[in-house]
Amino acid sequence: METTKDTYRGDFPFFTNNPDLVYLDSAATTQKPTQVLEATLTYNGAQHANIHRGAYELSIEATNKFDAVRSKVKAFIGASLEEEIIFTSGTTESINMIVSSYAGLHLEEGDEIVLSILEHHSNLVPWQQLAIARKLKLSYMYINDLGIIEPDEIEVKIHDGVKIVAITMMSNAIGVKTPIEAIIKRTHQVGGIVVVDGAQAVPHQAIDVVSMDMDFLVFSGHKMMASTGVGVLYGKKALLETMAPYRYGGDMIEYVEEQVTTFAKLPSRLEAGTPNIEGVISLGAAIDYINHIGMDTIHNHEMMLTQYALLKLSELDYVNIIGTTDIQFKGPVISFNIRDVHSHDTAFILDNAHIAIRSGHHCAQPLMHYMKVPSTARISFYIYNNTEDVDQLITHLKEVRRWLGYGS
């Protein structure tokens, strides 16, 4: 087993600046390599100008740099057209745009939306609120004891007449993947469209929106080594063209008169105002960095760590892992609890040993309620983690029950 080779950790100044820290919370946000940090520094320090406006050289260069990222994203997710890539502030905004400017426009009273119980609040609350406001039916696909959505559940819940299925590719809370191909296929059979939440999957596995036939795909930059405040809304052109403008303002117009306006074509029509230019540039640099390493290398490294951590955790009889431990159904995220110990205490005791993990409900309260687990401790990996991180975790996990007075 490949163990402690730190081929890429040296690219991350964060770890030089925090030499004692074990960072196991990349599902919340990732650290950034020098290549990404330098890209934003160069833009801000030497090339900063607004885009799509000036006739001077700097502005044109900034525009070119910005537009080049659209092309990189297109290639990264296997889209066919650049105008199918809309820059947003992140997954949350991307979903809200689809909900209000697509679903809000096309759905009528009584229409049905299907989600899964695994959804993050950001792919649940917007749909729920639309359903309340517009008297839509909102249904959920549920999971088995391992956290997996079974084929029967897909067949039953995604029935004739379902208009939209909004589904994560991987649960942020328990790290279980959804059967995305089967869900997309079934939704298209019944004439619906699929909104795929790729926030947890796009940073960790190769995506091809065309071969997977995704209608919409959303994801965030900061979970794939880019800045916070930038993300992507991918949509098939025919669908994006039916969306109402989400925000009005500069850059999204064609002609503005005192009483009427005509709007720009895609993608500008859905990108009002000065965008997060440095964020988009950081996203481009992050994609370059991922491509430089290779998505397969990243995926294999993370899954090696996940398997290693699952093995080590399973040796502790007081650790209860939530969901399947079969890594063919998992991403690089493990959720667990220590017997008799609340996850907040676990995280606090680990923090004291400079180990950063997530605790709580992971913005997935309906899931936690369904699983009857009030909270969990969660670890997650990225390219910069190594087996020593896991070993440190295990060493200090062994102290948690003792601190809480349970002996071992």
Binding site: S343, H344, W403
Partner: protein
């Protein structure tokens, strides 16, 4: 940080103690308190007669600090008047904010002052004060 200043013996005893963790039948006041970000979720029930808290109990889930703080608070306010309980809530909040030192709070809060170390741990303040805010709310909102 020294974890033993947080996970003290008395806090661990109260975390594991169940004597205050049960349903109350004849309740005059009931309030749910909840820290959405970390999942502490308690329901506090009181029976107040002639202005005296004659019984109190809680139910719910949470970290050791929130559970111990709730249990210790119930021990402290049982048998006290509503005004005395409110005064103790106020003293406890000031203790956790660092506005009153543990020695000066000892008479009002008794062994609850062991929680004063929490004031140096921003991540745990919410856990410690949850029950006390919930008690304050409960006293403001009788069930009848």
């Amino acid at each position: 940080m020294d974890l033993s200043s947080v996970y003290t013996e008395i806090i661990m005893e109260h975390n594991q103690a169940k004597h205050n963790k049960h349903q109350l039948t004849a309740t005059t006041h009931k309030e749910r308190g909840h820290n959405p970000s970390c999942g502490d979720d308690i329901t506090l029930a009181l029976t107040v007669e002639d202005n005296i808290i004659i019984d109190a109990a809680y139910d719910g889930m949470g970290c050791a600090i929130s559970q111990a703080s709730t249990s210790m608070m119930i021990d402290l306010v049982k048998g006290k008047t509503v005004e005395e309980a409110r005064e103790k809530v106020s003293t406890f909040i000031r203790l956790i904010k660092g506005e009153v030192n543990p020695d000066d709070a000892l008479e009002a809060l008794e062994d609850v002052v062991v929680l004063s170390n929490i004031k140096n741990m921003p991540a745990r303040v919410k856990c410690a004060v949850l029950a006390w805010h919930t008690l304050d709310e409960a006293l403001n909102n009788p069930s009848e």
